[in-house]
Structure formats: structure tokens, C-alpha cells
Symmetry: C3
Subunit: 109 residues, 3 copies
């Protein structure tokens, strides 16, 4: 079994949950925060049999769209010393970053 | 060292925390949500020396009971399009799913 | 790519976030709780190219100081049966515990 850890944009969370349910993938959701934009996102843990990994990747790819968004980095008073922050900047967000890990062993009690 | 990631039913969270403390295992807890029943559960991260892995598995097995529960899947208005949801269904919950990962290296600062 | 999972003391969270941003490391933050002291801490997920791993370890080491703190374990009524808890005890906290995992594959959609 592989453990897939994928970080999804908040906006795509319902779409991907429904797609995973429909395709009978088991998963767990954890609320998380992006390091750069400091916006809420969702981290999914998905244990998947190796022979269904490609199918899972298709489901993730299809349900997470990458798009552009304007971002205000920091409220002026919170800008950290030494990190130069310009005005609103266009960043590409959404989409998904997917880490695929080998598991040594998986048990169910 | 192995990194054990285990998802535990909310009801078992105190029982397993006490058992881990009593047996001197170090751990971190993360609030999470089940994909299917959408109920709160707990994800534990447990870094454990390889020679204590079986002992840890015993502790997890003993503290998490599997039992049956009735679940209402979706409030009628939230049911996603295309996913057929029957009335209350009996599912087996509780218990634990345990992912055991190899670590490349572990550091403490 | 390696997936680094590191658990940081709440007090160090801003310092390490700024250091990671400044050094152009991408990361995701998850609120978590310590098993022993039951205090809030932060779990960082950091996907990093292998050739920047040592640099990342330096950033983590420099931004997380280990220090001593007095801890009241349990409010008297919450002490679990069978676990002996003395009065306030000095424990060493802060710092960071860092798990470095191999990834099989990483995708971005
Ligand atoms: N130093 C930088 N300079 C310029 N632009 C930057 C940047 N760091 C991030 N961005 C941009 O901002 C978007 C949001 O990043 P954030 O860190 O808030 O939210 C991230 C973070 O939570 C997570 N993530 C991405 N790469 C990661 C990694 N290597 N390790 C851990 N988490 C990662 O996925 C979310 C979405 O990432 P994604 O790459 O799609 O989208 C990123 C990227 O397009
Ligand atoms: N497609 C489906 N059809 C019929 N019944 C289904 C189902 N998906 C889940 N169930 C049942 O519902 C229980 C709760 O699932 P949930 O996803 O809310 O909560 C799950 C989820 O958060 C996590 N989990 C289980 N397997 C996982 C996996 N492969 N990857 C990630 N998380 C997993 O552990 C919790 C408990 O799982 P457990 O297997 O003990 O118990 C499951 C299972 O008995
Ligand atoms: N059985 C015990 N007896 C005496 N003292 C004990 C103890 N368990 C923990 N401590 C002390 O209390 C500090 C806080 O532990 P806590 O579990 O709340 O918070 C921990 C936990 O959330 C996480 N952590 C540490 N080791 C871990 C591991 N092997 N697996 C998962 N999480 C770990 O990092 C946080 C800080 O750990 P750190 O080692 O720097 O600092 C620890 C340690 O100095």
C-alpha cells in the first residue's frame, strides 16, 4: 500500500472529496495552512493499494484545477523584518501537490 | 526509527493517549476528519525505535475497539450530485488504521 | 524529493516560518498537540529537493531553540487512572523533532 499525502486548495476540497467517495477511495482530511499565502488549505491522507495508484492520480488531477489569484502577502504591520514583500502579486494557486510514500506495513485493528 | 501514522476514532482518543503515555511512547496528535462519515477523528504521529514497534502495535490494538454504528450520510440538501446515498446505514467504525513508514533520518534540535 | 515532517514548539512557529520563506522553502502548516504536555504545537510538512536538505536542516536548527519550562501535567481531576503524575516538573521543550522521509514520487497538478 502507498500513503499519498496531497495538499489541496480549499476551493477544490468538496469536488475532490466527492470524486474520491465516488471512486471508492478511503481518505482522511486535515485542515492546514499554506506557508506562502497563509490561506487555509486541506491536507488529504490517502492509503491506496498500489494497483489503484494511477487511477487515484487521475481523480486528483481531474478535480483540482490550477488557476491564477491576486495575493496580498502581509498586512503592512505584520511584515517580518528582513523579508521584502511587494504589493499584491499574481500567484498561481489551486492545483495539488502530491507526495507518494512507500509504507513498510499497514494494519487495521 | 519508524514513523507510525495512525487514524483513531474520536471515542478512543483518550484511552489510546493514556496507554501511549503509560508505556512511554512519544507522540503528536492532529485533529482530522473521516472521508466517508465526515466525523471528527484523530491522526497520531508516533516516531518509534524499531525495537519497540511490536509493543506499540499491541498498545494501539488493545486501546482501539472496533464496533458498529448507524450513520446518516448526508443532510438531504448536501448530497453531492451523482453519488447515490441510501438512508441510515450500519458501518463498522472505531478501530484504527495504522501506516508504518520508514524514516531516512530523524533529528532533534 | 524528501518529505520532511517536523514538529515545532508554538513559540518558534513565526520565527521558523519567516526563515523558511526567506530561504525559499515551500511548506504547509498543521496545528497539532503534544502528547505529553498536551500543549499546542505546529507540524510542518516540507517537500524539499535532496540537494537542499542540509540547508533546510540548518534553517530548522537555527530557528528552534531548546529551553526549559515548568509544566503542570494534569488538572487534578483529569489525571488518568494508573499514570502517576507528580507536581510541576521541569521539562526541556522547544527545539524540533524532524522526520525525514523518502518519497516514491511527487506530482504537481
Ligand atoms: N517562494 C515563493 N515564491 C513565489 N510563489 C510562491 C512561493 N511559495 C509559494 N508560491 C505560490 O503560492 C502558492 C501558494 O503557496 P502556499 O505556500 O500558500 O500553499 C502551498 C503549500 O501549502 C503546499 N505546498 C506546495 N509545495 C509544497 C512543498 N514543497 N512542501 C510542502 N507544502 C507545499 O501547497 C500549497 C499550494 O502550492 P502551489 O505550489 O500550488 O501554489 C503556491 C505557489 O504558486
Ligand atoms: N466507501 C465505503 N463504503 C462503505 N463503508 C465505508 C467506506 N469508506 C469508509 N467506510 C466505513 O466507514 C468508516 C469510517 O470511514 P471514514 O472515512 O469516515 O473514516 C476513516 C478514515 O478517516 C480513516 N481511514 C481508513 N482507511 C483509510 C485509508 N486507506 N486512507 C486514509 N484514511 C483512512 O480511518 C477512519 C476509519 O476507517 P475504518 O475503515 O475503521 O471505518 C470506515 C469504514 O468502516
Ligand atoms: N514520557 C516523557 N517523560 C519525560 N519527558 C517527556 C516525555 N514525553 C515528552 N517529554 C518532554 O516533554 C516535551 C513535550 O512533549 P510533548 O509530547 O508535549 O510534545 C512533543 C511531541 O508533540 C513531539 N514529539 C517529540 N518526539 C516525538 C516522537 N517520537 N513522535 C511524535 N512526536 C514527537 O514534539 C514535541 C516536543 O518534544 P520534545 O522532545 O522536544 O519535548 C518533550 C520532552 O522534553
Amino acid at each position: 500500500m502507498k500513503l499519498v499525502i496531497t495538499i489541496i486548495h480549499d476551493r477544490d476540497k468538496n469536488r475532490i472529496s466527492e470524486a474520491l467517495l465516488k471512486n471508492n477511495f478511503k481518505f482522511t482530511k486535515l485542515a492546514s495552512t499554506g506557508g506562502f499565502l497563509r490561506e487555509g488549505n486541506i491536507t488529504f491522507l490517502i492509503g491506496v493499494e498500489e494497483n489503484r495508484l494511477e487511477e487515484l492520480m487521475d481523480v486528483i488531477r481531474e478535480s483540482c484545477k490550477t488557476r491564477e489569484q491576486y495575493a496580498n502577502f502581509m498586512p503592512p504591520d505584520a511584515a517580518p523584518i528582513g523579508v521584502f514583500m511587494p504589493g499584491p502579486v499574481k500567484v498561481e494557486v489551486g492545483g495539488a501537490v502530491v507526495f507518494i510514500l512507500n509504507t513498510d506495513r499497514v494494519e487495521r485493528f
